[in-house]
């Protein structure tokens, strides 16, 4: 089994087939690995690469080559969906990620449903789709991961999040209407990404945590719409990774209900225990991004080896990386996993 390509290794682990060693990846999207060290070395920079498909593809290649992560991940932010849905976005700077300036709506009941096929061809959705195509043609042996901002987070980027969270209780019908709409857009986006060569889809939904929603609403909203999206992507034949932020303690029992091929978690979650509690789960994670930023290098490598020993199926940072993370720390992580 020494001859597995990076693409085969990731695809096999997501399909619960045996592999030689866990892949070490960083999905992109919420877990963007386009750090300042890499961009300064190659000259393919943000914020320009957020809006140019060629540059986006080049930067994704740079990240993989320099860091040792065994995937290509795009986009480099969580604002593609919100922007096409009408919210105001700034693209940030080299070191500062794009962000929502203003959500377009103040209530779920004000949301106008726009034409989804038209949105898929507009703005940066099309940029990401084109970049996916370029990457999958150029590097067939490296998995291309297309990233979605999860349904709850996308809805909370469309409607002011404080008002949105209250409306999950006060205006359930309206909340479901918006989440259905947002999920349909995400499904359309994922289908385009898969059609254009994405190996897997990764969903990060930082607003959909147990700490924020509690178990009841996590089930009613997060699990339901995540599964709606996952099922649609599975129907296209692609695997799905879902990242759950936070400590998960209040929603732990619901995790196996999410029909993803792998569940990625924050650093605070003990993945060895999670695997013991839910033996069917394929786990991913969860090297502290704090450790990755501040090091030291030996401790990063040690921690990465521990994750492998603990039987974590896919090794990955636990959360979004700081753009000032040192390249040497990331290289220590990937080398430790790749050398076994």
């Amino acid at each position: 089994m020494s001859a597995l390509s990076q693409e085969e290794r990731l695809t096999r682990v997501l399909d619960k087939k045996n592999i030689d060693r866990p892949p070490v990846i960083c999905t992109g999207g919420m877990m963007n690995a386009a750090i300042v060290d890499v961009m300064k070395a190659t000259g393919h920079t943000l914020p320009e690469a957020h809006t140019d498909a060629n540059l986006m593809a080049e930067l994704a290649l740079d990240v993989s080559r320099h860091t040792g992560f065994e995937n290509l991940g795009i986009p480099f932010c969580m604002t593609v969906e919100a922007e096409v849905l009408g919210s105001e976005v700034t693209y940030g700077t080299l070191a500062c990620e794009p962000k929502i300036v203003r959500e377009i709506y103040q209530s779920v009941n004000d949301v106008t449903l726009n034409n989804i096929p038209a949105m898929l061809q507009s703005g940066r959705m099309d940029t990401v789709i084109q970049a996916t195509y370029l990457l999958s043609r150029k590097e067939p042996d490296i998995p291309v991961i297309g990233n979605l901002t999860g349904p709850i987070s996308t809805a909370a980027s469309l409607v002011d999040p404080v008002l949105f969270l209250k409306e999950l209780r006060k205006s359930r019908e309206g909340a479901h209407r918006v989440l259905d709409y947002v999920s349909d857009l995400l499904i359309g986006f994922a289908k385009e990404l898969v059609d254009n060569g994405a190996t897997a889809i990764s969903i990060g939904d930082p607003t959909a945590t147990g700490e924020i929603l509690g178990p009841k609403m996590f089930n009613e909203y997060a699990v339901r719409y995540l599964n709606k999206i996952i099922d649609a992507i599975h129907a296209q034949g692609a695997p799905v990774i879902v990242h759950i932020c936070g400590n998960m303690s209040s929603v732990r029992q619901s995790i196996p209900d999410i029909r993803a091929n792998a569940i990625s978690t924050d650093a605070i979650v003990d993945l060895r225990r999670l695997k013991q509690d839910f033996t069917s789960l394929t786990t991913m994670g969860n090297l502290s991004t704090y450790l990755l930023e501040y090091g030291p290098t030996e401790k990063v490598a040690e921690r990465a080896r521990l994750l492998v020993r603990d039987g974590v199926d896919i090794i990955s940072p636990a959360c979004g990386l700081s753009t000032s993370t040192r390249l040497a720390h990331i290289q220590a992580m990937t080398a430790a996993v790749r050398e076994g």
Binding site: C96, V101, V162, K166, L168, P206, S250, Y290, G320, S324
Partner: protein, 218 residues
Amino acid sequence: MIQNQEELIKQLSDAVVDMDEDKAVELANQIVEQGIDAYLAIDQGLSDGMSRAGQLFEEEEYFIPELLMCSDAMYAGLEVLRPHLKIQHEGEREIVVIGVIEGDTHDIGKNLVKIMLETSGYEVIDLGRDIPPQDFVQVAKEKNAHIIALSTLMTTTMDGMAEVIRILNREQVRNSFKVMIGGGPISQAFADKIGADAYASNAAEAVRIARKLLGGAA
């Protein structure tokens, strides 16, 4: 009538816990009509209700949507009662400057901390979200604040908190303010590392910590 006064104030507290905005307004109006002391009703009704809601939040009975709804009921009652406050109750309030660090626009946690601090009698100056480190220091100096409260939900913006402390040191005003920090990726270890005075893991705890920092009973 004393029984009735206690009963109304208790019901006001319950309305906040039950997230019942209309009921809170109705009860506040009754309290005003009966000439019950507005300060008493705020303190033992609205504020008590929010403190109970905070307790339920810490016990993981309530989550953020519930706490936000409770605060809506609390503020609705406060709108009715505030004009009837007698001046002497206002007194000198301790000032907290709060905001979300530059680069981050997630402000749910910050808003919760603000609500809980306001409910507990602090004057909260809310700078909003995506705030440059320098602004925290400037406003804190201008307003003679007691506490600077910093929030971020993103690992990518954590260093902005350290920057606030570096600026305070550079301007030699570090000892003029207590700095408390919080948010998803923040920990006690991070607070220690950057030299913050305290870390609060949630909005209810933030109130206890603010009291402790300013030398009161926790």
